[in-house]
Symmetry: C2
């Protein structure tokens, strides 16, 4: 608990209007998308790195924990203050500056990713990382989790666009990592070490992002299949044929049914659909689209459409964007995983998931970024039914075993946080984990920053 004197000192640092320990505020900042809320003792809204530096120095001196938070859209509990302490929201630090000549964006940690994309777009530039939460999530949170999204298949993830960072170390020092140029190799790569460290190594206050020229043209396609394995085979075939789509999303029958149940759309008798985009020069996109059509037809697609205008594009995306909320409404306590497998193993993954679903008697809905092998596997349990929860947990373990046996990874873009921490040792060996913990200690000797995440101490 934060003592009255600590609270009044914190108010002095940020101004009393930027600090709260009111129960209703604590509730608002107690959750992320995992639906496992936990309240902090207080919430603070600093506006500068200097204020954060003072807060962290105080946390070290007074021994309280600090949990950084962007917009709380994460899927693994990274921003949830599971041990109480001080919740530090970066939402006020949201300035965005674009240097058109150098294709560089300088942004505050609290800037909304979608706003960065929009500002870049207005200048003919492009910030490709595009987590589905982009309209709400902050760039600081995206960097902390190394967010991905549908475009990663062609453009990579957040880490590929972060040139440098301003961060506050857990002990209060403000440092600038990396560069503002396209290249730089001076000292160890702290930029990429902090990226994806889930708010456990430093608090990001500012980022220097690489932008690229926006592609000239884009084509959006829809392919429907009677069997999901046919759709999965089409994914492997597209990649194997050396086409690099800018998006290659797969949606399975269970996901389609959930969308149907919400009354929005109908997909009679489909095993799965693909949503595909290609981008590039005007001359090349139609040719790529034609090749993709041929592959889908060869894989027995029952329907193939190329969107003719931006309204049809929006229409096609409506299905994909409806899935996550639809699944959530039906099963708010579902288990949502984001495993990745080598793309040639997509069919094996799909078959394996079907087996797990049968064996553990749970509905499993699969959708996501098939183009880079990253599938969101949703185990649709009723979290209030203890037996079903147990079966869900067994299914999760089966899924991770299957994924790892196929040469994959248990998280492509959501991170470990608290929800995957129990499974960390399935993927990482003891020596790697010990090394990572030593790195954490090098940054945060007192362990005040975002405790209880990634690593579970087994005594």
């Amino acid at each position: 608990m934060l003592s009255p004197s600590i609270k009044s000192e914190l108010k002095r640092i940020v101004g009393k209007e930027n600090f709260s320990s009111l129960s209703e505020d604590l509730l608002c900042y107690s959750f992320d998308a995992t639906n496992n809320p936990s309240k902090a003792d207080a919430v603070i809204f600093p506006s500068t790195a200097e204020e954060i530096s003072l807060i962290l120095k105080m946390a070290n001196a007074e021994d309280f924990s600090v949990v950084p938070r962007g917009a709380g859209t994460g899927f693994t509990g990274g921003a949830v203050p599971i041990e109480g302490g001080l919740l530090l929201s970066t939402e006020r630090m949201k300035d965005i500056n674009i240097d058109e000549e150098n294709l560089l964006a300088t942004v505050g940690a609290g800037a909304i990713t979608g706003d960065i994309q929009d500002m870049a777009d207005a200048l003919g530039l492009f910030y490709p990382p595009d987590p589905t939460s982009a309209k709400f999530s902050t760039i600081g949170g995206n960097i902390a989790e190394c967010a991905g999204g549908p475009r990663a298949v062609k453009y990579g993830t957040t880490r590929d666009y972060v040139l440098g960072l301003e961060v506050v170390l857990p002990t209060g020092e403000i440092i600038v990592t990396g560069v503002k140029t396209l290249k730089g190799v001076v000292g160890y790569d702290l930029t990429r070490l902090v990226t994806g460290s889930e708010g456990t190594l430093a608090i990001i206050t500012r980022a220097y992002l690489r932008l690229i020229p926006a592609p000239m043209a884009r084509r959006t396609m829809y392919a429907a299949f009677a069997e999901l394995t046919e759709a999965a085979l089409a994914v492997s075939s597209i990649i194997g044929s050396r086409i690099v789509p800018s998006t290659l999303e797969l949606i399975d029958e269970s996901s389609l049914k959930c969308v149907e149940e919400q009354g929005v759309l109908k997909f009679p008798e489909l095993g799965g659909i693909l949503l595909i985009e290609v981008d590039g020069d005007e001359g090349s996109v139609d040719e790529k689209a034609a090749r993709i059509k041929d592959i889908c037809v060869e894989c027995n697609s029952v329907e193939f459409r190329v969107a003719e205008d931006k309204w049809e594009v929006k229409d096609l995306w409506k299905v994909r964007k409806a899935i996550s909320p639809a699944l959530y409404r039906i099963r708010p306590k579902k288990i949502n995983e984001d495993i990745v497998v080598p793309r040639s193993k997509m069919v094996e993954l799909i078959r394996g998931v079907k087996d797990i679903s049968t064996e553990r008697d749970v509905v499993i809905a699969c959708f996501g970024h098939a183009g880079d092998g990253n599938i969101h596997v949703n185990i649709m349990i009723d979290g209030d039914d203890a037996k079903e929860r147990e079966r869900g947990e067994e299914a999760t373990k089966d899924l991770f075993k299957l994924t790892l046996s196929l040469g994959g990874t248990i998280s492509g873009e959501h991170g470990i946080g608290t929800s995957k921490a129990p499974y960390l040792e399935m993927e990482l060996d003891r020596n790697s984990i010990e090394l990572m913990k030593r790195l954490k200690d090098s940054f945060d000797p007192k362990g005040i920053l975002n405790p209880g995440k990634i690593f579970i101490d087994k005594e």
Copy 2:
């Protein structure tokens, strides 16, 4: 010094034919491209991670240092055993396997980068990082230094293609970092922390590399300018116009003169030339080339040529490839820097370098990857002339000050090693350096791996 019993144990680990302390062998492994040789006490040629693990465990127990080495083509002393000890060459670990379906190369640390490129190319695939040393340098060395090259302007550097690594920690544990899939965010990003760590954090034994489909078409162009600032302006204008060339190299008058002195080629009255490539779909490269021509003409180019066939491409590249050896032959002890500036600052950099050259009375030859702001600035001193050497060192300091004042970095791809270690504090603040040293200690508590690199301890 290594005791006889240590030597005989090392021979036992790798086989006596894979160990040497003969003076002629030590000489061969005493240098890199910095021309500041230093001999190890012995050289060892392991063939597996397990052998390296035994060697490093022994180094910890017996307290001797180990210096990993690829092909010794580095520019900052990274592979030079400046404190003696054991030189560990990875040259025997050179297997290359390409998984065509998943666009993945699994390679031993000692594999030659050019061989990986060639094998990928034969399958229609592409490994873009292309340091000028690629025909000789190893992928392990490239990863340790985060090598760049002419294509970085479009394709990024080595770090953008390393998905995962097998490494041996300085304390002897073998770990696998990262993933073999396109995405992965499980735990801290050890892959990118080791990448660019200059052989100080771990010995890389194997790498999992991302390949991409080879571009369908490429155009190579040559533009000559009477004034170097015009060439530099053309660079900024090309980038500012949102064209992303796959290569955009600049060569200044001093570099051209050095090539001329070698009697290969003639460049009368030129202030600088650009060598430009664009790649992509067949339909788009000619249009991009035409736009680049327009920009060069606007910037007063006195000559502009598009190569008509592969022989002419080779011809155009001959100039660029001749520079480094030509400069080296004329001034073997020249100072070779690889600073980077924001691309809009290219003209200011060029003017500033000219001023430094005049003020310090040293010839400075500039060439390199102007497209990403990374210029190789060669201060052409006679290293045996003490006064000239001193002026060269002052010019280096001036250059770094200028670079940093323009928002740049003192190294884009060569690293720090020993040659830039005295200047590290010009770019990094004390807190960052202290943090990096703590990270080093987390990996290598006894400091046995590649000592004396990056950080200079000031007592």
